[in-house]
Subunit: 233 residues, 2 copies
Amino acid sequence: MYRQIGASGSFGGHGRLAAADLAVAQSGQLDALLAIERLALRLNYARNQEIYAEGDPGGYWYKVVSGAVRVFKFLADGRRYLAQFCFAGDCFGFEGTDERLFSAEAVSNAVVLRLPRHATERLVDQNPAAARALRETMLRDLANAYGRMLRLGRMTAAARVAAFLIEMAERSDRRKKLDLPMPRNDIADYLGLTIETVCRVLSSFKRNGIIAIPSAHSIEICDRRALDLAADT
Amino acid sequence: MYRQIGASGSFGGHGRLAAADLAVAQSGQLDALLAIERLALRLNYARNQEIYAEGDPGGYWYKVVSGAVRVFKFLADGRRYLAQFCFAGDCFGFEGTDERLFSAEAVSNAVVLRLPRHATERLVDQNPAAARALRETMLRDLANAYGRMLRLGRMTAAARVAAFLIEMAERSDRRKKLDLPMPRNDIADYLGLTIETVCRVLSSFKRNGIIAIPSAHSIEICDRRALDLAADT
DNA sequence: CGCCAGTTTGACCAAGATCAACGCAAGTGG
DNA sequence: CCACTTGCGTTGATCTTGGTCAAACTGGCG
């Protein structure tokens, strides 16, 4: 699968480019999009360093080269709402507004490409295939958003955590041994739970032999069947 | 504002076309899009009648002329997840998959236009302005989706119901006296609450003078300030 | 070794779900 | 016209889930 380029509506969903990339590649527009990527600035961020903040001007979008990024905002009462995690190949910061609605920070040390929005828009205007790929990506993001809405609204804590582990497994290359670079804190804010609940659920999964936790940031899925079952409880 | 035409990623958000329509109108592409609308079939649905069901082929999208529509799916355990309400001018059924992921039913007696998807796609491929309008609409839907995710994940029952009333007020023409065509049932499934909780919250708002409930399906907002306050508690 | 950030566990509490009645208005049939 | 049903809506009593508060644990690092 191609992960070279991308103009993703990564504002929603996890922002991978999967089929969109593929479509573009197949349509022979890869060169044009690679040209865009040559306009990118390569930036390094340390753990917890800010990439942009709510309210900043939003003239760029980003693509993760390595490491992980969190996109979030603070609520009036001080709680934090974590909209998405982005890993290598994922795009973010494509909000379509002049001002950033969210902030972005590096979860771990991260390298990202920064691309000017207007150049991308020009390309997409001239290139129906790229536009179509972008639309498809956005539709997929939208579908993801609806799925997550469902989980947040109706699923138990255990189901949310299970779904999170499954999501991370799907998005990582290795399916069994998961590396979770983010602290429990971030997971809780992503799932609309407290850190204690996340811990408890993970512990209970461990007790039941569904997962193993060799270290806090490394989780192994032992019983995928049971995890799937737990995910739609 | 123009509400004549639309190719909305209405799968997300409430599916209005607001700024997107405007953009298209300004760019002088209105005629082309009106031509699309001439391909539409006008359909009548009675209250609770099915428009399409999960699993059906998804070759069309729809635009509500009058009445209201709910888009939903059933979960494995029999609960229902209500993804969106659509009113006059809103579009729905633009999922981008071959099979329907959701079902759609008329909430009240409704008239809808049904449009073939491929014709729309052809238009959008040939017309960068229309494509851009569509992208903007989808981005807005995505932003709505993230807002709703936030509410579903982190807000109290009272805040969800308050936000719902505000959303309905924003979307209806008259801002004070709200007509809520959907049963409490639907509201609960939209907000991820039980019908009892929705009732209780509405009753408490009434007790506090924030709203009046002349009849079950008609709600008057008496104290908008207090309602706004309740919405981000 | 001690400190510190992050993680885990336990005890208790509260928001909302569940279960169970009851109310109420719109049909429906005698 | 009036019992009776039926579909919603509302209210109350109890229970469960997950949040809150508090404390202990762990690993990395000076």
